[in-house]
Symmetry: C2
Subunit: 563 residues, 2 copies
């Protein structure tokens, strides 16, 4: 939530509750989906069969990517901007859907904040979307842990012969922030309880099942990806997959509903698809391919977002998701706030609401880097400014002028406070760019045929502006082994801090010439990429001292405390 809201500006949940929702069958009918074909989950949510993907219509639709500058801790409002963009486009007469990621229960009950937008730019029903929604995360949790149980059982049943594995790399997941489960020992209490093993849980969004579900193109592709998941290694060092375990089909059965996109609506009854929510760090961090394509099958414009700043989210969106699918955004929106710019200009996070034009100007180096990176990918860029009440006209005017001088489109987004009307200027700017100056074909950061090391270096040098990349001995060894296993041609998914172009969260603005250290790589053959880890990565968050759960409650049948 932004502090754009003036006194008495209603809370997200109040706005959500006051909205007049249309039956989901009506929302479906609006985009040509036969109400008989939808699979309702209550009155305002539905799953849509994959048959509503139409490749011909996808070619006619305009995909808009929303990304951001390097964010401050509170974020710069990417989801709000995505929803607002779609409202603005609809407001000016363009049939538009927004395609978003599903929220995770962990953060909802931990730090305040779901992922359903905010103010008058929300997807609804916000509370149901933030809670169990249509059960996708539960199905993924279940599939992930069913594999773990079957794998441990395989080890247990083969404990007296040589068919067991030397090393297991598969971890369990739960959709909760639970630091105690990061590192555990299982199988204690005697031989009847399995084999004592070091193990651990990640949050569900970090599951490879989540990543591959979001990249699968249909049910057959889903099965093929599940088959390829690497669970561990045999004593002869060869990989052992879900196919080898013999349960890929059973796991696919658990995901047969989860693969269908979820249709909901915005605060202005326009179309929203919300599907999948892979970690924006160790995975590619954008919604499902299937949902994006389904949204494009029935809309002139589709707005979608990619996690964190453009160095993480947009790079993966383009190099992984777009390369896989052939999709190309016609334009990329970069979200910026004066607060984030001041942070990059050297101001402490707690002070970024105060006027400081000089720091803002210094911080423009970060925005320029993101703009130039996106341009290098071939993208036409629109800078979308999220105005907050502490902003002054002098700073905003300077920013607008600066964008003009840089030759990049600029718009102020007031979607949070006034919905589609407030985002109409942004919508117009998007249409202007798409119609007159759309993005060029994607200039990928690397070729799939490059070696694993070269791919990592190309991303680091071209996108992050690293001077050099170093690899740990583990990584060197794994590169050899992965290449031998035939995984060298997979794309790369770099896991690093979202707070800097470098691997050091303290190096704000636009650092260059630094050394990026890759300490580990991880094969995700099911998702179809190699994760390269730079720095420390948290795959299971913890709860804060004062979790949001202390404030969530039902009052007269309505939920309080979600946002």
């Amino acid at each position: 939530m932004s502090d754009q809201q003036v006194k008495k500006f209603p809370s997200d949940i109040e706005i959500s509750r006051a909205a007049k929702l249309l039956p989901i069958a009506k929302i479906a009918a609006n985009i040509g989906i036969d109400p008989e074909d939808i699979i309702p989950y209550g009155k305002y949510k539905a799953k849509i069969p994959l048959s509503y993907i139409n490749e011909d219509k996808i070619k006619e639709s305009n995909l808009i990517l929303v990304t951001a500058v390097t964010p401050n801790k509170a974020g710069v409002g990417k989801t709000v901007t995505s929803v607002a963009s779609s409202l603005g486009l609809n407001y000016i007469g363009k049939k538009t859907a927004v395609a978003l990621r599903e929220p995770s229960l962990g953060p909802c009950f931990g730090m305040k904040g779901g992922a359903a937008g905010g103010g008058y730019s929300q997807v609804l029903p916000m509370d149901e979307i933030n809670l169990h929604f249509t059960g996708d995360f539960h199905a993924i949790t279940c599939a992930n842990n069913m594999i773990a149980a079957l794998l441990d059982n395989y080890q247990y049943q083969n404990r007296k012969n040589d068919k067991g594995l030397e090393r297991i790399v598969w971890r369990r997941v739960l959709d909760v922030n639970d630091r105690s489960l990061r590192q555990i020992v299982t199988g204690l209490g005697g031989t009847g309880n399995g084999i004592p093993t070091e193990a651990g849980f990640d949050i569900t969004t970090a599951s490879e099942i989540m990543a591959l579900l979001c990249l699968a193109t249909d049910l057959d592709d889903l099965l093929a990806r599940i088959e390829r998941i690497v669970l561990g290694f045999r004593f002869d060092k060869t990989p052992f997959t879900v196919k080898d375990l013999g349960v890929a089909e059973a796991i696919t059965v658990l995901l047969k509903d989860a693969i269908m996109p979820n249709l909901v609506q915005t605060t202005e009854n326009t179309t929203a698809f919300i599907h999948g929510g892979p970690f924006a760090n160790i995975a590619h961090g954008c919604n499902s391919v299937i949902a994006t394509k389904m949204a494009m099958s029935s809309n002139e414009y589709v707005v979608t977002e990619a996690g964190f700043g453009s160095d993480l989210g947009a790079e993966k969106f383009l190099d992984i998701k777009c390369r896989l699918t052939g999709l190309t955004p016609k334009a990329t929106v970069i979200v910026v706030t004066t607060g984030a710019l001041k942070l990059h200009g050297g101001v402490a996070d707690g002070e970024i609401s105060k006027p400081n034009k000089e720091a803002m100007i210094t911080g423009l180096g970060n925005l320029r880097r993101h703009i130039n990176n996106m341009k290098e990918f071939g993208q036409s860029v629109i800078v979308s400014f999220n105005r907050h009440k502490h902003d002054n006209d002098d700073e905003v005017g300077y920013l607008e002028n600066w964008c003009g001088e840089e030759g990049v489109a600029f718009a102020i987004n007031n979607g949070f406070t006034t919905g589609g009307e407030g985002a109409a200027a942004l919508g117009k700017k998007i249409v202007e760019v798409v119609e007159n100056n759309p993005s060029k074909p994607i200039n990928f950061a690397y070729d799939l045929e490059d070696s694993i090391g070269t791919k990592i270096e190309k991303i680091a040098k071209r996108v992050y502006k690293a001077g050099e990349v170093t690899f740990s001995q583990t990584v060197e060894n794994k590169i050899k082994s992965y290449t031998k296993n035939g995984w060298a041609n997979l794309p790369i998914c770099i896991a690093k801090t979202q707070y800097s172009f470098s691997d050091d969260p303290k190096r704000v603005n636009a650092p260059e010439g630094f050394s990026l250290h890759i300490r580990d790589i991880v094969i995700q053959a099911g998702a179809g990429f190699i994760v390269a880890i730079a720095g420390e990565i948290m795959r299971m968050p913890g709860l804060p001292e004062d979790p949001q759960a202390y404030r969530i409650k039902l009052v007269d049948g309505e939920i309080e405390g979600l946002s």
Copy 2:
């Protein structure tokens, strides 16, 4: 599945698939529920708001309890008999619903077998019911583990002061058979990962959340029960509850949909409510109070089941669920097979399909004990015989005669092979008993005011026919502490083997005068009972050498391998 099926008799999934399902709104309308009020989950499942519980109509409805003799390993067909009874009653013109428990994914993917009935006595859509259904088990898993994470976080945040707990008794759950998770150590890997703690996972059906959801009478009662859950004990030995943790309301929010009963249909499009599935061992093992009451609010007859033999399931149904709600079954159906009787007559489990009248006659001691026990509770009894193809007329005739001599109603149930028509005789017998000789008010096995020890002794002596009950020192101490904490007036839920009236699974038939040893007791203040443990209890099953998951798959969009 029974071996009543002749060659080429279709499989459960084939019958399920061939059935012509009615839209769930139509099923709802049949029992007076406004289609606008239902919350659909796809076309054939719906949740029904609690407002459809009508206390006046409940008084006019006839509740029928289905229980069984002490079962053999494969079971005697209690769910099939429950569904068949409802089909038979509908067949003869009585408006009847069946109220069942939800299946667990663990056994579905482990040992072959869901819990949706079988043959032509099934609840449908069988595959969806056996998989994620409407997400109730996932919501319960999530609520249970959210409490665990918040509790561990409480310990972590208070690690430097004296507010932390000395002992945690709350365990995590997953809906999977995973022996490796029974006993684990969490919080490893350094201080950032919490405090190293002995912990473990049970299967979701064993969660206290499951038990209390099934006993809650409305949303307020659900909240009150969640508040009372004991999570551990402080250093001064006082209990620490979910209310003390401050998250009861947030956890209730996670369960606000799960508390609503699920409406589905049978193979003959009659009404089925399927809701909740507490362990029939450490919990009370019957479907939710809310679903039973909702089914009774709109049907002349409601058939429901209680887990395992009558010594476990029916005793808890009567002493816990009926005492709590004031419900009284008008009749109790005891399911019997010649196979189970032969087992009690001394035949090995693998040989019970062979003719052996003498052994069957010996085994009648077990049936007589169950009949007499139910009569002592005040129940009017009908013995329902599940005929299998290996049965011969001589044995069946003897059994029928024997029941006549014992003065107990008897019917042959052919619902598995021929649905309602095959269960019509059973239906008629039920109506006959209800109309001419209904059960008397329940003669409970104990009074709530009895001491904890006395209550356990009364169940053991009256129902199990134990000669004496011994308590471990732990139990003696806990009884004192529980009494001090004000829990002495709670009912008792005994956890013991389902294969014998005693605590020794090998003592078949009708043992008496044995000594029953209570090795532990556990407070479940949220569920509202004290669990008394006699013998070894498995709260988390393991997978077999050849799990059913190896055979579950999608073929042309249809699921194979579930039953």
